[in-house]
Symmetry: C2
Subunit: 200 residues, 2 copies
Amino acid sequence: MLSRQAIAEAALDVVDTAGPDGLTMRALADRLGVKAASLYNHVSGKDDLLDDLAALVNAEIDLAPLDDPDWRRGLARYAHGYRAVFLRHPNTIALLARRRVEADRQLLTYDALLAALGRAGLDPADAAEAAAALDYLVLGSALETFTAGFTRGAAEYRPRHPALAGALEASAARGPGLDDRGFDLALRLLLDGLAARTAP
Amino acid sequence: MLSRQAIAEAALDVVDTAGPDGLTMRALADRLGVKAASLYNHVSGKDDLLDDLAALVNAEIDLAPLDDPDWRRGLARYAHGYRAVFLRHPNTIALLARRRVEADRQLLTYDALLAALGRAGLDPADAAEAAAALDYLVLGSALETFTAGFTRGAAEYRPRHPALAGALEASAARGPGLDDRGFDLALRLLLDGLAARTAP
DNA sequence: ACCTGAACACCGTTCAAGT
DNA sequence: ACCTGAACACCGTTCAAGT
C-alpha cells in the first residue's frame, strides 16, 4: 500500500493544493490514511521526500520535442512543455529550486537538452550557456508570474506609477496572458540569437 | 531601539546567513537581543515582516542606469545590478517570490523600468512583455544558479550523460561563471531583439 | 508604550511498543 | 516488516502580567 512512489505522488497533491507550507509530514500522512511516523519507514526524512518530489515533477517534462529535426521548433516546444509542467505545479518551484540535481530523470533531461543544442550546431560551451539561459527563463517565468504581483487595477497605479499603469493597460488590451507573451518574446529572441550562432 | 526598520535589517541578516528556514521569529528576536513576543509590538506577524524584507531588498536595486541616454547600455547595467542584489541575497528569492507587489519601492522600480523601455522606443504593451522577460531572466538566474546543481565532476556524468558532461567541461575550459555567461547571453540576445522592435 | 513568561496549536523526527 | 502513541525540541502567535 504505502511506498516511496505513493508517498511522492501524495506529496505532489498536497503541495499543489495546500502550497509549499502545507506540505507537512502530518498532512501528508493524513492524505495517505496513515500516521506521520509511518512515513519514516519509507523515506529517511522530508529532505529525502523532496528528492522524490523533484524526480516526479521532472518526469512530467516531455523530452520528445528535442528530437524534432527542426531544432528551433523542437526547442520552442520543449521549453513550452517544461514551463507548462511548472505552471501546473507552481508551488513546487520554491521547494525544489536551489537543490542539487541528483534525480536521474533530471540529469537525463539536461543531457537531452544539451544534446539537442549540440545537434543544432552550437559548440558545447555555447550549448551550456544556452541551456542555462533557457532554464532561467522557464523557472523565472513559472516562479514569478509577473502579472500576479500587480493585484490592483491599472487606474490605481496611474497617479504614482504612470508608466506601469500604461504598460499594464496596453498589455491588457492585447488580451490576457502577459506572462505567456513575455515568456514567448524572450524565448523567440533567444532562439533567434542562437540561430545566428549555430555552425552552418 | 527596536523598530520596523531595525527588525527588517536583522531579518535580512538572518536570512542571508541562516537560509530561508533559519528565519524564525525566535532567531530574529535573539539577534536583536529581545524575546520573540516583543516583535509583535512592531510587526503584525511574519507575513508583515516579509513585506518589509521585500521592500528592503528592492531598495538595493540601483535605478540610476535606467536614465542612461544609451538605453541598451542602461538596461544591461540595470539588469546586472538587479541580478547582483539577488545574488547577494539568494535566500530571499524563494521567500519573496510569488508575493503581491505592494512595497512602494518595488512599484517604483517597475515603473522606472517600464518608463525606460518606453523611452527606448517600445510601445507600452511591448514594454510590459520586455519587463516581464527581464524579470524572469534575473530572478530565474539568481534562484536557480544552474551550475550549483551539478555537484559531481564532469567525468562522473560522462558514462550516462555524455552531452551534459561535455558541455560542463567545455564551459569550465572557458572559465568559471557559467551562470553569469548564461545570463549575459540571454540578456544580450534579448536586448538585440528589442532593438529591432524599437520605433526609429 | 513596550518587553516578557507562559501557554496554545502546530512542526519534524525518534523510538519503544505493538501487530 | 511496517504501523502507532507518546515524546522531544522546535515553530508562529497570543495574552495577561509586569515595568
